[in-house]
């Protein structure tokens, strides 16, 4: 049986590679952590990696280049001017890309998102400093909208952790409108009751315009989001798990072990199996 292969980028301050790797493996992918430089000049280090060997490319979270000069900016440049052609081919082949947190910042700086009308190079959306003026670690409720995104099929709402200082989606009004019109807004921050946050802190943790937490491109194969699905890889990652467990225990039931964030990766794996293998 053919396997779904995922590449998780590492190096230069990226730091969510291990747990993202773990999450993808639970989701059924065969995943490798690959240093940025192995893609660019791997020959020099005894291991050249090529995007062509993979179906799913993950720009995972972290602080690439320390977030100096804008989160994700320098990594985006390094990729664009060294392996831009590989990435282009990867997209042409109908493969999947997911960018999480710092990875999302990379995607918007590369211009891979929002990818209006097949334009995968223009920077139209920015992720800028949180309105609260600081880095914030918290869990958020997300409402999933109706989009072509392949990663969110069957997920109506989900709780995930956010951990960032620059996660506020900003774009010109016309761009925001297009995002909604073209059904590219994948996640909006919501209240625990499932209502859209409408900018209210801390439900919307960063002041993101129209509560946008994640967007996809028109093909639905590229997803960028600020929250961390790999941060919910196990039931015990959830802040309320001890309460839930106790409530279930008294009903004679027990907590299932898998974290709900895995489903996002599993959707990606399913798509690859159904379409590319």
């Amino acid at each position: 049986m053919k396997t779904v292969k995922a590449l998780i980028l590492t190096g230069y301050g990226i730091n969510c590679d291990y747990e993202t790797d773990h999450a993808l493996k639970i989701a059924g992918a065969e995943s490798d952590r690959v240093h940025v430089n192995e893609l660019i000049k791997g020959d020099e280090f005894g291991r050249r990696s090529s995007l062509t060997d993979y179906h799913l490319l993950v720009f995972d979270g972290g602080f690439s280049w320390g977030d100096d000069h804008g989160a994700g900016v320098i990594l985006a440049n390094r990729l664009k001017y060294n392996i831009g052609d590989q990435i282009e081919q990867f997209l042409k082949d109908g493969k999947l890309i997911i960018g999480i947190c710092n990875g999302f910042q990379v995607l918007v700086n590369l211009g891979l998102l929002p990818g209006f009308d097949g334009d995968y190079t223009s920077r139209k959306v920015a992720l800028t400093f949180n309105d609260c003026g600081n880095f914030r670690d918290d869990w958020v409720c997300l409402k999933t909208l109706d989009t072509p995104c392949v990663f969110t099929r069957g997920i109506e709402q989900i709780e995930l952790p956010v951990r960032h200082g620059e996660g506020k989606i900003f774009a010109e009004e016309a761009v925001i409108k297009q995002l909604f019109d073209k059904k590219l807004v994948v996640f909006q921050y919501a209240t625990p009751e499932g209502e859209i946050a409408e900018g209210r802190f801390p439900f919307n943790p960063n002041g993101s315009l129209r509560d946008i937490a994640g967007i996809c491109d028109p093909t639905g194969r590229i997803l960028g989001l600020m929250p961390h699905p790999e941060g919910y890889n196990h039931a015990t990652n959830h802040p309320d798990w001890t309460r839930k467990k106790e409530e279930l225990r008294r009903k004679g039931r027990s907590l299932s072990e898998e974290g709900l964030g895995i489903e996002i990766f599993r959707n990606g794996v399913r798509y690859v199996k159904g379409t590319l293998l």
Partner: protein
């Protein structure tokens, strides 16, 4: 000519950083600003042409969606502008990454000396501002003159505005590096040199040093390599190695201890050996999971058959006291190199913090170097950047306010790592250097920064403390290095690894060459940040983000290949030998040539007079307080006190979940806002085993008796772990002592003998508790001299000594994380139990502090009495009988019952009549006594029988129940309701103290 690029957010965008400066100006100085907008300046000092400049402007530094930028001054309105840039030679990470980005984009490597520098221009608008006010903001909140330069610009000063960022803070040392020879003809002469060079040599060491260099056989050997009198390289080396910071002379000292009440005297030879080393070795014999202790950079415990965890704790007090942000950042980033340098290297999995500072709102006469608010904000921010940018979760910490820390703040940083138990078949906890191994320096470069750090840490802070040791850590550079070294480790390339911290290369190579018994180091091979460093500076510089690694020559090629892959600089700077000599060369000539054993030789032991005056002898008494009438207001006030109030703002800005293994978070409960007893992580993601960790600090008990301060602190840390489900048998500790100067001096330290006795008693408690609880000390550190000389209102100087402080960190493996519990009550109707006796022990409590009392009855711990409780509770947790468990700590039962209810957003009805108490108890002592060994436990009613069976005849009582209605109702002893408070209102009060902080 350097080019200056100005970048700012588009005018219609909200400037969050500017906004926080506005808030800060109001908070710190009561100055109202209308607006603050920020301009980031990048100064590019490299020969790029117009086209190249344009390209990097557009493609790297300007986000078309959010930014405007220009090589000309941006036209952003201001009434006043403040420019802040780094001083020459200060680490400017953003400058370095800008250079990296440009080089990568243009495919054009910078030449030696080419660089980028960053600075900031704050454009301030506001009415009623004047130069004085704006300069105050610049000096006291935006810039620190130790590391930064600043300029205040008025609206009309156009020329000045235009010139900002054009100047380049480049280090130019017009100095020809040289080795100086130092005369050791007399003790006095050497002492003079020590003072002139800031070596901080102890007068007692001087004869030993002279004796060595004057010995005939030593002189003969030295002459053969072209040396005679000691060189500056050698003396600086010895001074570093002999500093109290590196050598722990105080703890290894000889104490003449006298109990003034009994007149009994004792001689205690070496506190470290008798109270730390011996007990730990004794416990190690009984606990097979204690893998490696007392010699390496961190202690090693077994996590499971395939993995070991590593742990260590450090302090970074002196630098943080001078430059809060840079100091704490360097502290956390620095301590992360310890687990990396343990065994063959462990991967970092967690960090923790502890801050002891003066009151944030301090408004008294003393003038600390940094405004207390600014100091605290800076410390918090430093650990944030250091931890978050390292990709290491920072899930737990303490913050404790006390005026005694105005003299010198305390910044504790703790690091945890994990490593495979075997690496390519080799036991990972072992490492050594052998003849022929290459000495490699990996990571950052060496500059003048961080020279004399350890000697400065071994002194009392004063205005003349040299600032050269203040640094700004660089987590980005270090993260690359850590990634690289883990990969090199996994390929089996590392023979030995250690970090470059205090003492720099002199310490890392000095210590590692003891194993092979010699080394040869070529200082001119060490990569420098800028030319012009003297050899001694290269040898002792504490420039950060560097590790020293020994590798076999056959691994050099692969090691360097991996180093390049990770974009990390690694350089072979010498070899290990078995010559018995540390041979340091510069320009091919020896500049230091000493026996490897020199520092192990007979330096005289430090001696201390210690006189213990018991609390009774010092006249301490219990205050006379009649029972309060208004318990509602009292409880609310207790919750709002700074040492009890919510510190959520700190916890939320620290990434406490990265690496994906968070199980019990620092903030607990329905609204995720009440602090957990401990945190639990799952460091091996494929396993359901967990590692719990916590820490405790109780310095106010020191005002009564440091013995009980230590015992209570250890008990608290252990209890915190028991509360989340750790078995006592699995618990290990780390002791971090911070103590004022204990060397008696009739004028400058008249209570030195008492402080020395406090240290002796503290160590005795450490020994007693560790042995009785069976808790091994996997690691620990002492940091002395937490004193400061501060100016008062009239220009007079006061010596302020920090309270004798122990931060105790406890950790332990949890077999199955799914059984761990949190402290929040779970469901209405659940029963509330108190485990353990509440004694009349209000001495040193938060309650007494509220009224300005010290008291006498400090909480006392009898480990043998409390341990059965801990085991019973653990059994109940393992049987899943317990719904919530929470220890009772500072603030007492009243405060902690409120926490359990507030976390659940449920009410509670309890009756103090049922609480197991000691003699002489009243409502206030039951509610606010800080007796150890106690828990609040809630259980489902159906578990009552089982739970009580497990507890047997231990002291416990069911004191009430959890209620749906969110009201805390407390019945007093023999009377009706004394507390009747709405939980959400109570929470509001608890959060209000620091409610404005983000």
């Amino acid at each position: 000519m350097a080019k200056r690029l100005e970048v700012a957010l588009k005018p219609d965008l909200f400037d969050a950083e500017g906004e926080s400066i506005k808030i800060q100006a109001r908070d710190y100085f009561g100055i109202d600003l209308e607006s603050v907008r920020l301009i980031n300046i990048i100064t590019i000092d490299a020969p790029l042409d117009f086209q190249q400049m344009k390209e990097i402007q557009t493609n790297i530094f300007t986000n078309p969606v959010t930014h405007i930028s220009s090589f000309e001054p941006l036209n952003i309105e201001f009434d006043w502008a403040i420019w802040v840039g780094y001083r020459p030679g200060v680490r400017d990470t953003a400058g370095s990454t800008a250079a990296e980005a440009i080089e990568d984009y243009l495919k054009l490597p910078f030449r030696e000396g080419d660089a980028c520098y960053t600075s900031k221009l704050y454009c301030v608008c506001g009415k009623n501002l004047d130069r004085g006010k704006v300069a105050l903001i610049a000096r006291e909140s935006l810039a620190n003159e130790l590391v930064q330069q600043w300029e205040v610009i008025e609206k009309s000063q156009r020329k000045l505005r235009e010139s900002m960022g054009v100047r380049v803070p480049k280090v130019v040392l017009k100095h020809e590096p040289a080795v100086a020879s130092i005369s050791v003809s007399s003790d006095e002469e050497l002492m003079k040199v020590s003072n002139e060079r800031n070596l901080a040599l102890n007068p007692r060491d001087i004869p030993t040093i002279r004796d060595y260099f004057l010995r005939q056989e030593v002189r003969d050997e030295r002459i053969k390599v072209g040396l005679d009198q000691p060189t500056d390289v050698e003396l600086e080396y010895i001074a570093q190695a002999r500093s109290d910071h590196c050598n722990h002379n105080t703890f290894k000292g000889l104490f003449h201890y006298k109990d003034l009440s009994t007149g009994k005297t004792e001689l205690i030879d070496n506190l470290f050996k008798t109270c730390i080393e011996d007990p730990t070795l004794e416990i190690q014999k009984k606990k097979s999971w204690v893998v490696s202790v007392l010699w390496d950079n961190a202690g090693v415990g077994r996590f499971d058959e395939q993995h070991y965890y590593t742990i260590t704790g450090e302090t970074h007090n002196s630098p943080s006291n001078m430059e809060a942000y840079g100091g704490s950042l360097t502290g956390i980033v620095g301590v992360y190199r310890d687990p990396m340098g343990t065994g063959l290297g462990s991967k970092l999995i967690m960090g923790m913090y502890g801050y002891c500072v003066g009151p944030r709102e301090y408004g008294g006469d003393l003038k600390p170097r940094l405004l207390p608010r600014r100091l605290l904000d800076g410390i918090i921010r430093g650990v944030k950047d250091g931890g978050n940018k390292s990709g290491i979760p920072t899930p737990y910490g303490n913050l404790f306010f006390h005026e005694s820390y105005l003299g010198k703040c305390l910044v504790f940083v703790t690091a945890f790592g994990i490593m495979p138990s075997r690496i390519m078949g080799r036991p990972s906890e072992k490492k050594t250097t052998s003849k022929g191994d290459l000495i490699i320096m990996a990571g950052g470069r060496v500059g003048k920064d961080g020279i004399h750090g350890v000697t400065a840490a071994s002194e009392v802070f004063s205005e003349s403390t040299p600032a050269g040791h203040v640094q700004i850590g660089d987590p980005y550079t270090q993260k690359k290095m850590l990634d690289f070294l883990i990969e090199a480790r996994d390929e089996g390339l590392i023979a030995y690894i250690t970090d470059n911290g205090g003492g720099g290369l002199s310490s890392s190579i000095g210590e590692s060459s003891l194993l092979s018994n010699g080394c040869e180091v070529h200082l001119d091979k060490v990569p420098l940040k800028y030319a012009g460093l003297d050899p001694w500076e290269i040898w002792v510089s504490e420039s950060q983000e560097r590790m020293t690694v020994a590798i076999k020559p056959e691994h050099e090629k692969r090691f360097m290949e991996l180093s390049r892959k990770h974009d990390v600089e690694s350089t072979v700077i010498g070899t290990y030998t078995d010559s018995g000599k540390i041979n340091i060369l510069f320009g091919g000539k020896s500049c230091a040539y000493v026996n490897t054993q020199l520092l192990k030789s007979d330096f005289p032991q430090w001696e201390f007079e210690a006189e213990w005056a018991s609390p009774e002898l010092r006249g301490l008494k219990e205050p006379v307080i009649e029972e309060p009438e208004d318990h509602n207001s009292l409880l609310a006030d207790m919750l709002s006190r700074p040492n009890i109030a919510s510190k959520e703002w700190i916890i939320r800005q620290y990434d406490h979940e990265v690496q994906g293994g968070s199980v019990i978070k620092p903030l607990i409960g329905k609204e995720r806002d009440v602090v957990s007893d401990a945190i639990v992580i799952r460091p091996v993601l494929t396993s359901n085993r967990g590692l719990a960790a916590t820490q405790a600090v109780n310095p106010t008990y020191s005002t009564i008796d440091t013995y009980h301060m230590v015992a209570a602190t250890i008990d608290e840390a252990i209890r915190r772990l028991i509360a989340v489900g750790v078995n006592l048998d699995n618990i290990a500790g780390v002791d971090n002592f911070c103590w004022p100067d204990i060397q008696y001096h009739p004028v400058s330290n008249p209570d030195g003998k008492y402080k020395a006795a406090q240290l002796v008693r503290a160590n005795r408690a450490l020994k007693d508790c560790c042995l009785e609880f069976g808790v091994p000390l996997l690691s620990g550190k002492d940091s002395m001299y937490i004193d400061g000389n501060l100016k008062g209102r009239y220009g007079e100087t006061h010596k302020i000594s920090g309270l004798p402080t122990l931060q105790f960190t406890a950790t332990g493996v949890i077999d199955d994380i799914r059984r761990s519990v949190t402290m929040d009550a779970k469901l209405p109707g659940d029963l509330v139990y108190i485990l353990g006796d509440t004694k009349n022990e209000l001495g040193g409590s938060e309650y007494y502090e509220r009224f300005g009392y010290t008291g006498l009855n400090v909480p006392k711990i009898a480990p043998n009495e409390v341990m059965p409780r801990y085991q019973a509770l653990n059994q109940a947790v393992n049987e899943e009988v317990v719904a919530s468990a929470h220890g009772i700590y500072r603030g007492g039962m009243g405060v902690h019952l409120a926490f359990v209810a507030m976390a659940a957003c449920l009410g509670m009805e309890v009756d103090l009549d049922r609480v197991p108490v000691g003699e002489g108890s009243a409502d206030d002592s039951v509610l606010y006594s800080e007796s150890g060994g106690r828990f609040i436990v809630t259980i489902a009613p159906e578990n009552r029988e089982r739970f009580e069976t497990i507890l047997g005849n231990l002291p416990y009582a069911c004191i009430g129940k959890v209620t749906e209605k969110p009201i805390l109702v407390i019945q007093g002893i023999g009377r009706n309701k004394i507390v009747d408070l709405n939980i959400s209102e109570l929470k509001e009060v608890w959060k209000k103290t620091f409610g404005a902080m983000v």
